[in-house]
Symmetry: C2
Subunit: 222 residues, 2 copies
């Protein structure tokens, strides 16, 4: 029984890593769609989201079955329950890649307002945070989880930079830029929320591994 | 054993209802802070969020203990796991009330850009959706859950209304209004995301009660 259970847990890890890879790709593809103002690429991200949604449901069912069949003890139970929570975060991250793609569709028929510098930087940061958050979970690595949480303030700063530039250098100087500026501002916020989800996952990992309640006390990390 | 377990489930329901009441109040108070541009009220919402965070952790621990102690069968297990997921949604809704309060702090030293009409309407809609979503869970009422999901398009419409008014009637006509207009636009988006969480909860309820996969196929509700 135990050997089967361990194999099931490995299988669960594998599915979560697969889902995470798809979600990271969705973030990257939504930003590529933005750079190129490509309707086609934006629509591809939106379409792919169905598959990610199905992966969430599959993992959820697998987790429920594992609990019902094996009645795992405390640590394993916590790991399985966290798998479900983390999968929900991944699904919502994919939704944010869809949100970014929808902003692209809104502005795809006009030239880009400005060269994109900080937004792709924020996207790369977001992808790395998601990847590391998931790896910290699968490998039960609280140090890696901590490093994700510490990167969240960088995401906030980049978001603020983008936002104040768009308001002060574009909206205020050229009112006609407002719709496109709002779209870019929202993209930056979508990306920053992706970073928030990665942070939530990492907090859960630390909570799980160390059974510490750092979740709502990030200051204890410093 | 069973009687104790049933009592524990009632206790769990009670805790979720208590948390929901706090979260609904946080939404209302953040909008009151906005209407009155009251720093004091905005800060009170931000402060109260710590208590809501603690409630989430308590419910999560209770759920894990219930599973470990009673090893509940399929339907009860699903209910307990969903309790944890729903509690996470409630916590994130409270975070959005904090986000609204932060927008208030950003604009509290200037007069309101415009009389608030659609934003309070959207806030009332959001509060009602959260309340009904939680009631649909506690009472295992898929009809009520469906009614919440159907209201989500109303939220999207109100959000779009607010957004296009702010862009076209304010930002474009008076560039100096941009920072305040962006803050109001974000408040509308925070509220609409609260509605999205209520929708997520309702989808989980339907999934739980009917074991239907409507989650990612809302069209099947129509």
């Amino acid at each position: 029984m135990t050997r089967y259970f361990d194999e099931e847990l490995l299988e669960l890890n594998k599915k979560i890593l697969e889902m995470s890879a798809k979600v990271e790709a969705a973030i990257g593809n939504s930003i590529k769609a933005l750079r190129e103002l490509s309707r086609e690429k934006a629509e591809a991200v939106i379409k792919e989201d169905d598959r990610i949604d199905r992966m969430e449901l599959e993992i959820e069912e697998k987790c429920l079955n594992l609990i019902a069949l094996y009645q795992p003890a405390a640590a394993d139970l916590r790991f399985i329950v966290m798998s479900m929570k983390i999968t929900t975060d991944l699904e919502r991250i994919a939704d944010l890649a869809v949100d970014i793609s929808q902003r692209v569709l809104e502005i795809a028929d006009q030239p880009l307002l400005k060269p994109l510098i900080d937004i792709p930087k924020l996207a790369t940061l977001a992808q790395g945070m998601v990847k590391d958050a998931i790896n910290s979970f699968v490998n039960k690595d609280p140090e890696l989880a901590r490093s994700v949480i510490l990167r969240d303030s960088e995401a906030d700063e980049l978001r603020n930079l983008v936002q104040s530039e768009l308001i002060n250098d574009y909206m205020r100087k050229d009112p006609e830029s407002a719709p496109r500026a709002v779209a870019l501002l929202l993209v930056a916020r979508h990306l920053e929320r992706i970073c928030d989800h990665a942070t939530n996952i990492s907090e859960d990992v630390i909570y799980m591994v160390k059974a510490e309640v750092v979740k709502h006390h990030p200051e204890s990390l410093k």
